[in-house]
Symmetry: C2
Subunit: 316 residues, 2 copies
């Protein structure tokens, strides 16, 4: 079982991969612990996609960037060995992370995206006619470049005149931007590697400062099946900063364990009810494959173990 | 990539496995088509669990039965190469399939389970104090035997005096049982192998006949990401039989693509609203890790592509 062999790409947990690589190189160092305490690990399980062709594989300044054409999921972007998106199921993630905060806001004009280099969140945000300016701060330009080339349906809006694109660190960017945005969306990779600083309390304090009155943020909230400790920690510190902190979940087959969580926070607004709703005809016109106005509220109704995880009462 | 090697079990789509086995044996026969039209196939993707120890591996009269101790998911039951349940996440499936119909009924006394040999559905059904008799019809006694030995938390209620256990074919069993049950739950494997007859219209007509007035059925409804054609077909013929046909979804990480669908049908009742609700204290007392009364209704609120699949309007 190697990550890319015999025509299959396999996504291992980073700690398992270390063991496998050490074994292959003859290094006797074994696994330090059964999982990274703060998220981003899934020891003992792996997901594989069959590869038709490797389209791109290079190391950027920040991470290992791989794009391959899969047999049944379209083109696939992989960063540091972890699947970021596939053309077949990307809508499930992009639509929920973007439209939960966007529709909870009655009139979002200025939007900030931290990360999001594949362009999928940008594409969804720009579907809202109220939007006047979108700022994106992505740390790794190579992700944008490969997405423009290999994921054209996601990267379709990088030429949009409403976009201000900054290449740089989201944490640093926020320090210079206060009281500017109606919606801030953090579309990051796991909290291992370049995105690590985006999962701490100081980052959420900066996000809070960047929002205008009535502003809303959303962030990828990892997988509740795997990252209970992380989402509990995030839930606790977000509640110290925001009056309303909610967690939604949705299905994304090619993310580990198939379920993705989303934190949505605001000082002033109830984020679980859409401030604007779409008819079935509008859902179709917008090309929405996952999000709809009924699902908005239902996504915040959580299985028992997710409620318990958020409260730090994990059953097992 | 073989199914059980180098310390990992890999669940391939049955059609992919055929190709892999043929290649290994030098047979030049290649894949016939990109997926089984009527469900039960997921070409080009695979899920793996790390194996600590193979506990049992034999062929029964009907199928290949494998139980292994996994590194991080407890003991795992595999039939014909497909994961049926793991100790870590089984509650997600058992609780939804059992409690959606059970709580939609105000007073379920007589319950029939078709399949369910691991005992998990039986365990959940017997939590309802109104239940007087549970009949289970499981075709493969070996599944019950290995579950009693290796999945004791699931198979905990096979000694319960309320249980009537029949070893035999569910389809044949139903022909002799009319107007008998308040709830009928079909807990089957995929529509390939011994469970194939449980996905056709004639089976659902028999289910309808087996229900008493006000009765409700639930059935595993495969994965909406993979089996759109099947769930559309089932939705159409169920609506020819039942006045109320609803589809719910829930997360189950070790089922293919991580999402499971559930058909819940009734002539008389609205199945999307629980007829009885549980307080948080009761949820805890019942030991429910997934189901709760708010989730009951939310589970029937579907992503756009699932609505489209049910209606036969798949976007891609």
């Amino acid at each position: 079982m190697d990550t890319l062999q015999k025509g299959w790409f396999t996504e291992f947990s980073p700690d398992d991969l270390e063991v496998i690589n050490n074994a292959a190189s003859g290094d006797s160092k074994q696994l330090k612990s059964d999982g990274v305490e703060m998220g981003g690990a899934w020891p003992g399980q792996a997901f594989s996609l069959q590869v038709d062709e490797v389209l791109f594989h290079e190391k950027s300044k920040y991470q290992d960037v791989l794009v391959f054409k899969s047999r049944t999921y379209g083109n696939v972007l992989v960063l540091d060995g972890i699947i970021q998106c596939t053309e077949r199921d990307e809508a499930a993630y992009q639509e929920m992370l973007a439209h939960l905060p966007m529709f909870a806001h009655p009139n979002p004009k200025r939007v900030l995206i931290i990360g999001g280099g594949d362009g999928g969140i940008l594409r969804e945000v720009l579907k809202h006619p109220s939007v006047e300016h979108v700022t994106m701060c992505e740390i790794d330009e190579m992700v944008i470049d490969v997405s423009k080339k290999w994921l054209p349906k996601m990267a379709a809006e990088f030429g949009n005149p409403k976009l201000n694109l900054f290449i740089g660190d989201g944490f640093e960017f926020l320090k210079a931007h206060k009281n500017e945005f109606d919606v801030v969306i953090t579309d990051s990779s796991d909290p291992v590697g370049p995105a690590e600083s985006l999962f701490g309390k100081s980052y959420y304090q900066l996000l809070s400062d960047a929002l205008r009155d009535g502003g809303i943020l959303s962030s990828q909230g990892e997988c509740p099946w795997l990252d209970g400790n992380l989402i509990h920690t995030m839930n606790v510190f977000c509640k110290e900063i925001f009056a309303n902190v909610k967690y939604a979940i949705g299905s994304v087959p090619t993310y580990t364990s198939g379920t993705m969580g989303y934190f949505v926070c605001s000082q002033e607004r109830d984020v679980t009810t859409p401030a604007r709703t779409l008819t079935s005809e509008e859902v179709q016109k917008w090309g929405l494959r996952f999000y709809n106005s009924s699902l908005h509220s239902a996504a915040f109704v959580l299985p028992t173990f997710v409620q318990q995880a958020l409260e730090g009462k994990q059953s097992s």
